[in-house]
């Protein structure tokens, strides 16, 4: 492993590779959160190809105007070719200025063109080749967790998602439904005693510890809210709680948020999609606040979705299932403020099957490149996570 490969923020970790496993430092460790936008978000209206005339003709009612400081509904300028949806003005756009976010257009599944939510979400979560037999008990974040030591993985979901299924025991917690535990301290103590001699003793005591820590962290926030603080809701609430938990206890997380399947009346600068985006932006900004400056420096957040949507709007002022998407990578220590990955001009000739963004950066090679750098994983390790994949050199971290 080449130390120079590591970014500054992670350089202090001094990882030591033993037999393919990375022995990373605890506490101030690298943290990774994957955010899955289920339903296929309309990437072309979020990271807008502002220099494309074809974009405007393809989206007569949905199109976002070119950057214009006098127009609050115009895209926010990122580069000469790309702009950001105005609903992200106060949350995500400042991160771009601080070079703490990068976008990867034309990203997605190069070998899954089913355009089925169900199929393609599975494909991404498994991180295995589509052809040949699949192991449904082996999600790629689970395989990543197996390669790392001192890893504290958690899924912030009601059910354990495919992405975290596998050999390691990964806890899951529906972060918005955490309430005061029904089993009280006295019962907990009695239950722990019953299990003291059992092979499940550690599972049970670890369970109570995590449960109490999560509740403590969340009740602090509830107390703050009771003192008149504005109480966030929905995904913003989840993300802030996750920020707190990843600051203190967990370093490998997954969360999903639905509601992106905008076939009908999705709106443009304002409307349904703008509202969802506003919430997502506030959520991610809230996460970066809660995890704190030190935590944020060591954290990478990746925002993905199963596929993009049709480049042209449909007859219902919405968009249908497409192919290529735009992924987001955020973090206090990343090399952001850039549009990354292979790109083509956004015009009709470059559409995939004359309807969608093509996929030029495969999700597996993107993740492989990212985690290789973040954790200093060697090639055998990477191959155990993403078999047969060549890590993309995107220079994100």
């Amino acid at each position: 492993m080449n130390r120079r490969d590591l970014i500054k923020a992670f350089a202090a970790m001094a990882p030591l590779t033993v037999a393919g496993r990375v022995w990373a430092a605890p506490a101030t460790d690298a943290r990774l959160l994957v955010v899955f936008l289920r339903g296929a978000y309309d990437a072309a209206n979020v990271v807008v190809p502002v220099s494309s005339d074809f974009y405007r003709t393809s989206r007569p009612t949905l199109g976002i105007a070119k950057p214009d400081v006098g127009n609050p509904n115009a895209a926010l300028s990122l580069t000469a070719d790309w702009g950001l949806h105005p609903a992200l003005r106060d949350s995500i756009y400042p991160l771009w200025a601080k070079r703490e976010i990068a976008f990867i257009p034309f990203a997605g599944t190069s070998d899954d063109v089913t355009r089925s939510h169900f199929e393609t979400q599975d494909t991404i979560e498994l991180g295995q080749a589509v052809s040949g037999s699949r192991d449904y008990r082996s999600g790629f974040m689970s395989r990543l967790a197996t390669e790392l030591t001192r890893v504290k993985p958690i899924s912030f979901t009601e059910q354990l998602p495919l992405i975290f299924r596998g050999k390691s025991q990964v806890p899951n917690i529906g972060i918005n439904s955490v309430g005061k535990p029904g089993v009280d301290d006295r019962q907990a103590a009695l239950i722990k005693k019953m299990y003291a001699q059992s092979e499940l003793a550690s599972s049970v005591s670890e369970g109570f510890r995590v449960r109490d820590d999560v509740y403590k962290s969340i009740s602090e926030e509830m107390n703050a809210a009771n003192r008149g603080a504005v109480s966030p809701r929905g995904f913003e609430l989840s993300a802030r709680r996750i920020g707190r938990l990843m600051r203190e206890q967990f370093n490998l997380g997954f969360v999903d948020v639905g509601g992106w399947d905008t076939h009908v009346n999705q709106g443009a600068a304002t409307g349904y999609l703008a509202d969802r985006l506003g919430e997502l932006g506030r959520a991610l900004a809230g996460f970066s606040e809660e995890i704190g400056p030190a935590g944020w420096r060591d954290t990478v957040v990746v925002v993905i979705s199963e596929f993009g949507r049709t480049f042209r709007e449909n007859g219902d002022r919405g968009t249908d299932h497409g192919h290529g998407s735009v992924y987001w990578v955020m973090g206090g220590g990343i090399n952001g403020g850039r549009i990354l990955g292979e790109q083509v001009k956004v015009e009709q000739a470059n559409l995939f099957q004359n309807r969608d963004y093509p996929v030029l950066t495969d999700y597996r090679s993107m993740f492989a490149g990212l985690i290789q750098r973040m954790y200093g994983l060697d090639n055998p390790s990477i191959q155990r996570i993403f078999a047969g994949v060549h890590p993309a050199e995107l220079g994100i971290v």
């Binding site: 169900f118 449904y136 499940l200």
Partner: protein, 530 residues
């Protein structure tokens, strides 16, 4: 009455003064005649202590021991009980109150084909609404109606699991559903899943494996779930063909090749779904080949009539008969016998069942032409199985845990609402019809004993143990919550289960401050997890 007996006794305030609480519970029974009558009635039916072997056997082969099933096993003896379970009559009666609940569900009085057709029409008309917002609303109504059908199917499944006397068949129904898994949230499978369980799985759960496999192959739920409805000559979809070999029959890595998968996919071309009233347009020479049974259709125009080489056999291209031939080859393949034997033994015996046991079961499978009851009979009579009948050997998966808790807590007092149970199973990540991938839920204990899972179990133990938790409030508007209370410290406990508890668990139970607390601790104990 029962509810008030506890609530009204001032229990919470008086227990703190009690030194030895179990005699207190007993004296409570004597003090409240209705309670005492119930307990003593059960106790009188089997005055002696239950032997631990029978208690574990009951827990292992049913959805959980309870006073009435224990009394029955004791009355008829182990071997006769096993025969009853292995060879139940086709329709051993459900209790009348359970039947009435099931009869009240609209789907059970309609042909599944009619249901599929009417839902199909509802979807089409929803999609044709001109105004986009109204269309969205109509589509939501359609989705809600499908959700409702899925919940009804789950309710039927739960009622049967809790109260059917043919408990082993119910265990096997769950097992085979999981083996031939479909996911209710794909497409319109929510409206098909109840019929899939009731007509494709349960009737064959103890029968011939070949019949079971063919029943799943002919069911629209499976054909939709694994995409064979889209598999046609010229645009093959090998998804179902692969899973038949990898999951349903031979097992992964058992010797078939990609070429075999492709051959089976070609054999399965044209096997699909059709809910249109009119037959597909066919050339005259193909018309006699068309097969329609309900929503199932073999469409010869979509079939690849070329010859195929499958697992070393040449299969002459001739239509749906190729499927039967291929299924015969698969059912008789030695790998299938071993794979199925190991799956069944993993479910009932241990995470790593003894190889000798798996071999005996596989041998029976081959000798009886895939008779599932015969394979189970070999298993339950094998010394390896008997050796495994020690308390604490097999960790319950969440479904077994929740069902066994409710069975023990209420015995044959029939619950009026399964929605709380559906919720608990979903929270424990083992919801009915809810596994998204074709492999089904994991059957090994490590998948279900992690820290988060254990915490959820304790929370659910508290909910089940502390009161009726909505189980006796019918799922209808303005329903009245019927009084009920979980009675776990019953005659079965004093005459049997208590003897299976370790000293640390007994010590913890002795510190319970109320019946609610005692129930919570008992259902949380390491002994009840197994």
């Amino acid at each position: 009455m029962l509810f008030r007996a506890h609530k009204g006794s001032g229990y919470q305030t008086t227990t703190s003064m009690m030194v030895d609480r179990i005699p207190f519970f007993r004296s409570l029974l004597h003090a409240v005649p209705a309670l005492a009558a119930i307990f003593l009635g059960v106790a009188a039916a089997h005055a002696g202590e239950l032997n631990p072997h029978d208690m574990v056997l009951l827990d292992r082969l049913t959805w959980g021991i309870n006073p009435s099933s224990a009394a029955h096993l004791q009355a008829v003896g182990t071997e006769r009980w096993l025969q009853e379970q292995l060879h139940p009559a086709a329709n051993v009666g459900l209790p009348d109150v359970v039947k009435a609940q099931i009869e009240a569900m609209p789907d059970v009085h309609k042909f599944p084909f009619d249901i599929a057709v009417s839902f199909d029409q509802q979807a089409k008309s929803a999609n044709q609404v001109a105004d986009p917002d109204q269309r969205k609303a109509a589509q939501q109504v359609y989705q809600q109606a499908m959700n409702d059908r899925g919940r009804q199917a789950a309710a039927r499944s739960i009622l049967r699991a809790l109260y059917a006397p043919d408990q082993l068949r119910e265990r096997m129904t769950w097992f085979w559903f999981n083996h031939f898994n479909v996911h209710q949230y794909k497409a319109n499978i929510r409206i098909l899943v109840g019929d899939y369980e009731d007509r494709a799985i349960r009737p064959h759960a103890l029968g011939k494996f070949r019949d079971l496999l063919l029943a799943t192959l002919h069911h629209p739920a499976m054909l939709r779930y694994l995409d064979n409805a889209d598999n046609a000559v010229g645009h093959f979809n090998e998804n179902y063909a692969r899973e038949i070999m990898e999951l349903h029959t031979m097992g992964v890595g058992s010797g078939y090749t990609q070429a075999d998968v492709e051959a089976l996919a070609r054999i399965l071309t044209g096997v699909g779904i059709d809910v249109k009233p009119e037959d597909p347009k066919l050339k005259p020479e193909l018309q006699s080949q068309l097969v329609r049974e309900g929503a199932f259709e073999f469409n010869p125009a979509r079939h690849d009539y070329g010859d195929k080489t499958f697992l070393g056999h040449t299969i002459k291209g001739r239509g749906l008969a190729e499927v039967d031939e291929a299924i015969d080859i698969l059912v008789h393949h030695p790998a299938t016998a071993t794979h199925l034997a190991r799956q069944i033994a993993t479910y009932f015996v241990s995470d790593n069942p003894p190889q000798s046991l798996v071999q005996q079961m596989a041998q029976t499978f081959k000798a009886t032409d895939g008779d599932i009851a015969a394979v189970l009979s070999t298993m339950v009579h094998a010394p390896e199985f008997n050796a495994s009948l020690k308390p604490g050997t097999k960790f319950k998966d969440p479904v077994h845990y929740v069902f066994s808790a409710v069975r023990l807590a209420y015995d044959d007092k029939v619950i009026l609402n399964t929605v709380p149970i559906q919720g608990w199973l979903n929270r424990l990540s083992e919801g009915l019809f809810n596994h998204d991938t074709p492999d089904g839920y994991a059957m090994t204990s490590a998948s279900w004993s992690g820290p988060g899972q254990m915490m959820l179990r304790f929370e659910i133990a508290r909910q089940i143990g502390s009161g009726s938790s909505g189980l006796f409030k019918p799922d209808v508007p303005n329903a009245v919550d019927q009084p009920a209370f979980p009675l776990i410290q019953n005659a079965l406990y004093f005459n049997g289960l208590r003897q299976t508890l370790g000293p640390t668990t007994l010590a913890a139970l002795d510190q319970a401050v109320s019946p609610q607390d005692w129930n919570t601790l008992f259902l949380s104990s390491p002994e009840f997890m197994r």
